[in-house]
């Protein structure tokens, strides 16, 4: 690993002042569960690490029935799981955090880090860059793409967004607060994730000298929500496909549904098709299946990942059924 300087600012403003204006100069260090291994493997080699540990304002969980939930970026999975308010109001968020097993990861990994963790694409992790290219040629289409994207994969990015929390947070309409050198801005989490067009970009809408400070989730009133993950392995692994759904029911009919797929595209993938299929319908086997089918209707699997189409379809169907069964938040 390349030697680096280690900075421990105590305010968010001071932290961003320490960040460079180019990706790669410096990196934000939260729990380090992802970043340190990337550094040890020379995938990223920052000259400076800016630790968030001493910035008190980045912690804390607050819930108000009127305004909803605020999660500080450095809240850990464990803190999230230990919060009775989250358990009561956002059961699907708890489900998502529970999917991340291992107390070691839960007690160290942060929610901000979960959203900003880098793709698990093995080409990226082997040093072929974010777009997995060798001599300018993409490696994924002809390579081992069994875990890669089936949607939004027209290139040049083929990886899937690895975050367990992002799909449900987007389904719930979450926003994030971003601290920059000029101040603070808010972005919807949906727009926070982007599909990079060049290897110099990142997969999220931060400038090199910005960082995420808070996650804001609207109140869950009347919302049915659920997450369904398909996994080959229960622990120490990422799902093969996941679906998060949130909707209201009025008179037994689905109202304003949100369906977001995980691990199928370079970004968490809101499925307008599935939402459209669900809107105004009663929830049942058939309508949930229709929505699942719709969610993958535009899937364009690569040479080795056609199976993921079916998995995503099933995940959507099961998440919808679970959400309807789970009852709404009062």
């Amino acid at each position: 690993m390349q030697a680096f300087e280690y900075a421990r600012p105590t305010t968010a403003e001071a932290a961003v002042a320490l960040l460079g204006s180019q990706w790669g100069d410096s990196e934000v260090l939260a729990g380090g569960t992802d970043l340190v291994s990337l550094m040890k493997d020379y995938v990223v080699s920052p000259k400076r690490l800016v630790s968030l540990k001493d910035i008190k304002s980045l912690g804390g969980i607050e819930y108000k029935p009127k305004s909803g939930l605020r999660l500080g970026a450095t809240v850990t999975f464990q803190e999230l799981l230990d919060s009775p308010e989250i358990a009561r109001n956002y059961p699907a968020l708890v489900q998502a955090a529970q999917g991340v097993t291992s107390p070691q990861i839960r007690s160290r990994g942060t929610v901000g880090g979960d959203l900003c963790q880098r793709p698990r694409c093995w080409y990226f992790r082997l040093g072929y860059g974010l777009l997995a290219q060798s001599d300018g040629k993409p490696l994924v289409p002809d390579g081992d793409n069994r875990y890669h994207a089936i949607l939004g994969n027209e290139g040049p990015a083929y990886f899937v967004n690895p975050s367990s929390l992002a799909p449900i947070l987007i389904a719930l309409g979450a926003k994030v607060r971003v601290q920059g050198q000029q101040g603070v801005r808010e972005v919807s989490l949906h727009n926070f994730f982007i599909t990079p067009k060049s290897a110099e970009e990142r997969e999220y809408a931060l400038q090199p000298n910005e960082m995420l400070t808070d996650i804001l989730v609207p109140p869950p009133e009347g919302i049915h929500m659920a997450l369904y993950e398909v996994r080959q392995k229960e622990a120490l692994d990422w799902p093969l496909a996941a679906a998060a759904v949130a909707f209201k029911l009025s008179g037994g009919k689905v109202d304003d549904p949100r369906v977001v797929l995980g691990h199928v595209a370079p970004v968490p993938w809101p499925s307008l098709e599935a939402e459209h299929a669900l809107e105004g319908n009663t929830v049942g086997e058939a309508s949930a299946d229709e929505a699942g089918k719709a969610a993958v209707s535009r899937a364009t699997p690569l040479s080795k990942n056609a199976y993921k189409v079916k998995l995503a379809h099933v995940a959507v169907k099961r998440a919808i059924l679970a959400a309807a069964k789970g009852g709404a938040n009062a």
Partner: protein, 949 residues
């Protein structure tokens, strides 16, 4: 780099340190504080071996910057036992076998401690959830769960009756033989307290860090290597390349095709090109970057079936068509057998490459004696100290007696440390060049590339049976993708053919085996060596045949039992055969009759069998020397010391030695000490491979103990004026005839036996009998063993028919180990084998792309955690082998293979599809279900509309 002054509070003690600001806590603990109980399994937050408690929470010290934890309370394993009083968890792990190699143990104990501090009475599910971030490669987690539960029990008792004696200190009772007793491992204290020393824990004065430069190309000529820039770097003490180390070596006498560093060409990505010894790891890494290698890239071979057609650019010039070795065996007449068959099935099976991934990375320390530069001491994480000694001597061109190999604790092997690994030689040559001790420890990625695991195997299997299911003929064509060097290759391919036999009676067998070279790391011996994939194919095909015939899978196996004592058609002598009992016990325990074919769609049960050798009857290097010799020393105080070359690697071989000697001499186990695996002090044992230790070293230990006993009794008889036959040895005392009062103590008699000498010394040995050494045909020497273990297993699965996800609900595994000298250890071995087989069945796979390993990490390799590890119910069957020590046979490998076909057979029972390629992923299951449904629609055309949900 800036240094910072910090205070670190570890185990309640403050430390003032000046540290690089970017130093990780694990490095500080191990290097600066000498607390080596925290282990490094991956160094990248994958395995949990480095877990420490930070303010009571388990965290991975390999990713924590030490400087940011100055305000925290840090607890390591060294602080768990207070004033030498073991913690209930440490007692629990000893009593219930939770620590095999012990490498995962410190991290697991700490994680469990944190759990119990919060929840004193967790459920099994809560324990498994809490331990899901701590990988273990040995136990399969069943005994780990039992160990934690035992600790909970001890804690509960001490709450009820505070001050009561804790677990291990039981009140003295009459002596009972340790043979057959569930005794804790003799090294469990070292392993549960962090005091045990593994190779990477060793630090010598002046020790340098060694690093190896690996090839970035799969196949390339080396035009030139320039090391000047590397040598010029301050802090670099030695740089070596193939030009310095031309001597060829290899584990098999017929396969000396490796050199320490590549000469002329590299043959796989990861091949060893050069090495550096430097004052620090950072300098060593920088030096590697400064070595300039001019390569001439060659076309490479990655697929064994394509490689077999090669005409040019051969991987080794002297191996035409890139075939390392081929064997063609034909016993009986398969054509005639097929002609008399009522049903013949032919299938192709394709089994992915898997690797050992022992939690302890390979590590070696080498030192030339400062006082005597001609003598070398090597500490290494090895299963074969003796072969390592020989190879060091050969490659360094030194006399064998000037090379001493010491095996510290080994954190798991599974075959991956059963041949010489390049770092072991590299460390030694670097130490010689630098005239300083050198340590090389592989990174986890290097461990994956060092490999020597189970090759990808393509099996074309043809089996003919009569209507009643009786086997008539078996024909197998087996191709193994051996990688770039020979290694154990010829042995591996031979096992795959030879051990088609000795399980069932097969009258006609034909085997065409090809060990093929490709441009990937060499494969080698891995648990169940050579037999596993062929067994999967055979047992899966047998079920397919049974399905066509309408015969119950248990019944078709019964109809083909061997009738021992017998010698198979290929010359394997079988004396004890507990397979029938294994099968019946599994059928009973699993509820086979009630479940098979009767569970709802999506759930199924399957069974299968497997077997393995109890040591290869023929040594790797042909010789008349005994395979193993064990020396015993009795001192006049009656203390017994065993000197054995056998290599404990977590399987419990040290404990078995002590049990056998204590049992035979009727002593308490704590009066028997053991010195093991130090070539300067212990006699030769060939090593821990082919499951030979309990059988062979155990027999040698028993032989020595019997001699010692005879000598002691004779000496006592002389003093008592009777004959030795009038005396009996019991509970550390000597009794005359039926007298119930002892005539003499064991110590007194031992003193008499020693006479004028300082000690009484005897030595025992073991050589397999000649009628167990197999047929005289080419390749006939591999497969014969003095005894075979047997296993039968039943597995229950649930298949999610819409996603292909497979959940294993239950595994019942019966293993014929002859005699369980230590049932606790045998169960641990059976569970660990089954677990490893399950990993191969469902998850593990080395994924290569153009010679590059895509998943060279424990996460990416999919090593199962507690949450994917179902409970395993072991059943021990004791067939009492006539030649095994106390009847014992092997226990550490034979149960691995059966679980794989048992899973695939269960999947058939659940959803009606046969999966013929490993691992059985959701993707493959889903595809097979879809195809089956399609073909059913096609053939039956029953429904006009079909929804596949």
């Amino acid at each position: 780099m800036t240094t910072v002054h910090i205070q670190l509070r570890v185990n309640g003690k403050g430390h003032e340190l000046d540290l690089a600001a970017n130093k990780f806590l694990l490095d500080v603990l191990r290097e600066d504080l000498g607390l080596t109980g925290s282990k490094r399994g991956c160094d990248d937050s994958s395995c949990g071996a480095c877990t420490v408690l930070v303010n009571g929470e388990p965290q991975m010290s390999c990713i924590m910057l030490a400087a940011s934890h100055a305000d925290d309370d840090i607890a390591t394993i060294e602080g768990v036992a207070v004033d030498h009083h073991l913690d209930p968890l440490q007692l629990g792990f000893a009593e219930e076998g939770g620590a095999q190699c012990g490498y995962c143990t410190p991290g697991i104990i700490l994680t469990a401690k944190s759990l119990l501090a919060k929840y004193p009475e967790p459920t099994d599910a809560e324990i498994n959830d809490a331990l899901s971030g701590n990988l273990c490669r040995c136990t399969g987690y069943t005994q780990i769960l039992a160990s934690v539960k035992r600790a909970i029990e001890i804690l509960r008792q001490s709450r009820l009756a505070p001050g009561a004696a804790n677990g291990l200190h039981k009140s003295p009772v009459a002596w009972t033989s340790p043979i057959g007793a569930r005794v804790p491992m003799v090294d469990s204290r070292e392993k549960t307290t962090g005091a045990g020393i593994y190779t990477d824990d060793i630090r010598l004065p002046g020790m340098l860090v060694g690093k190896v430069l690996h090839s970035p190309h799969a196949h390339a000529g080396i035009r030139a290597i320039n090391v000047q820039e590397a040598l010029a770097l301050p802090g670099v003490r030695a740089v070596l390349t193939g030009a310095n180390t031309p001597v060829k070596y290899g584990i098999l006498p017929i396969g000396h095709d490796e050199t320490i560093f590549a000469v002329d060409k590299v043959r796989y990505i990861g091949d060893n090109v050069a090495a550096v010894a430097a004052e620090s790891e950072a300098v060593a890494e920088e030096a590697l970057r400064r070595i300039r290698v001019d390569y001439d890239v060659l076309p490479a071979y990655f697929d064994p079936e394509k490689s077999m057609l090669a005409e040019a650019n051969l991987i080794h010039d002297e191996r035409p068509r890139n075939i390392e070795k081929e064997y063609h065996h034909h016993f009986g007449d398969v054509e005639a057998g097929f002609a008399r068959s009522d049903l013949i099935r032919e299938d192709r099976f394709d089994c992915a490459e898997v690797t050992h991934a022992a939690l302890e990375p390979h590590s070696t320390v080498a030192r030339f004696d400062p006082a005597d530069a001609g003598s070398l001491t090597v500490w290494s994480s090895t299963q074969v100290p003796y072969y390592l000694q020989k190879t060091l001597a050969a490659t360094l061109q030194m006399p064998e007696e000037r090379v001493r190999v010491i095996k510290p604790l080994v954190g798991g092997g599974f075959g991956g440390k059963s041949e010489v690994i390049p770092l072991e030689l590299a460390a030694a040559v670097l130490a010689r060049r630098a005239a300083r001790p050198v340590k090389i420890t592989y990174t986890r990625e290097e461990v994956f590339y060092a490999h020597r695991g189970r090759p990808r195997t393509i099996i074309d299997l043809k089996t003919g049976v009569q209507r009643d299911g009786r086997l008539m003929a078996v024909e197998a064509r087996i191709v193994q993708d051996g990688g770039a060097y020979c290694g154990y290759g010829p042995v591996t391919i031979l096992y795959s053919g030879q051990l088609l036999n000795a399980m069932y009676a097969i009258p006609n067998v034909k085997f065409d085996g090809y060990r093929v070279l490709t441009n990937k790391p060499a494969c080698g011996a891995m648990r169940g060596h050579g037999t596993v994939n062929a067994r999967f194919a055979f047992e899966a095909q047998l079920d397919r045949i049974a399905a066509v015939l309408g015969v119950d899978p248990a019944e078709i196996r019964r109809r083909n039992f061997l009738k021992p004592p017998c010698t198979t058609i290929n010359g394997l002598r079988v004396l004890s055969y507990g397979y029938p009992e294994c099968l019946e016990r599994v059928v009973e325990r699993s509820g086979w009759r009630e479940k098979r074919g009767k569970l709802p769609y999506g759930r199924g049960i399957g069974l299968a069998g497997s077997h393995y050798v109890s040591g290869a009857a023929n040594p790797i290097i042909r010789s008349t020397m005994p395979q193993t010799t064990v020396r015993l020393r009795l001192d006049p105080s009656g203390e017994v010391t065993i000197f054995s070359g056998a290599a404990e690697i977590g399987q419990g071989s040290d404990t078995v030695h002590v049990q056998i000697v204590a049992g035979e001499l009727s002593l308490e186990m704590d009066r028997v000490k053991l010195v093991a695996a130090d070539t300067a002090r212990t006699p030769v044992d060939l090593g821990s491979y082919s499951s030979r230790v309990t059988f062979m070293a155990g027999n040698a230990a028993l032989d020595a103990a019997r001699q010692a006993k005879a000598r002691v009794l004779e000496a006592a008889a002389r003093r008592l004026g009777c004959t030795a036959a009038d005396l009996r040895l019991e509970a550390g005392k000597i009794f005359r005839d039926e007298d119930s009062r002892p005539a003499m103590s064991f110590s007194e008699a031992a003193g008499l036996a020693a006479g004028a000498e300082q000690f009484l010394e005897v030595s025992g040995s073991y050589s397999p009998p000649s009628d167990a050494q197999g047929g005289k045909f080419k390749g006939g020497g591999v497969g014969p063993s003095p005894a075979y273990s047997y296993s039968a297993q039943a597995v229950e699965v649930t298949v999610d028919t819409h996603t292909g996800e497979i959940t294993v609900d239950r595994i019942v595994a019966a293993h014929d180990c002859g005699k369980a000298i230590n049932p606790l250890a045998v169960e641990g071995q059976v569970e660990g084998s089954v677990w490893m087989g399950l990993g191969q069945a469902l998850q593990e796979e080395m994924l290569w792309e153009n010679g590059r390993l895509m998943n060279a990490g424990l996460l990416e390799y999919h090593s199962a955690s507690t949450l994917e590890s179902p409970p395993i119910e072991p059943i021990l069957v004791e067939s009492n082998d006539p030649e095994g020590p106390f009847g014992a046979k092997e226990a550490g490998e034979g149960s691995l293979a059966a679980v794989i076909p048992a899973v695939s057979n269960a999947i058939y029972d659940a959803v009606g599809v046969w999966i013929t390629s490993l691992p059985i992923t959701p993707e493959k299951v889903l595809k097979a279900i879809k195809e089956k449904q399609k073909s059913e629609i096609r053939t039956q055309n029953l429904r006009d509309h079909y929804s596949d949900f």
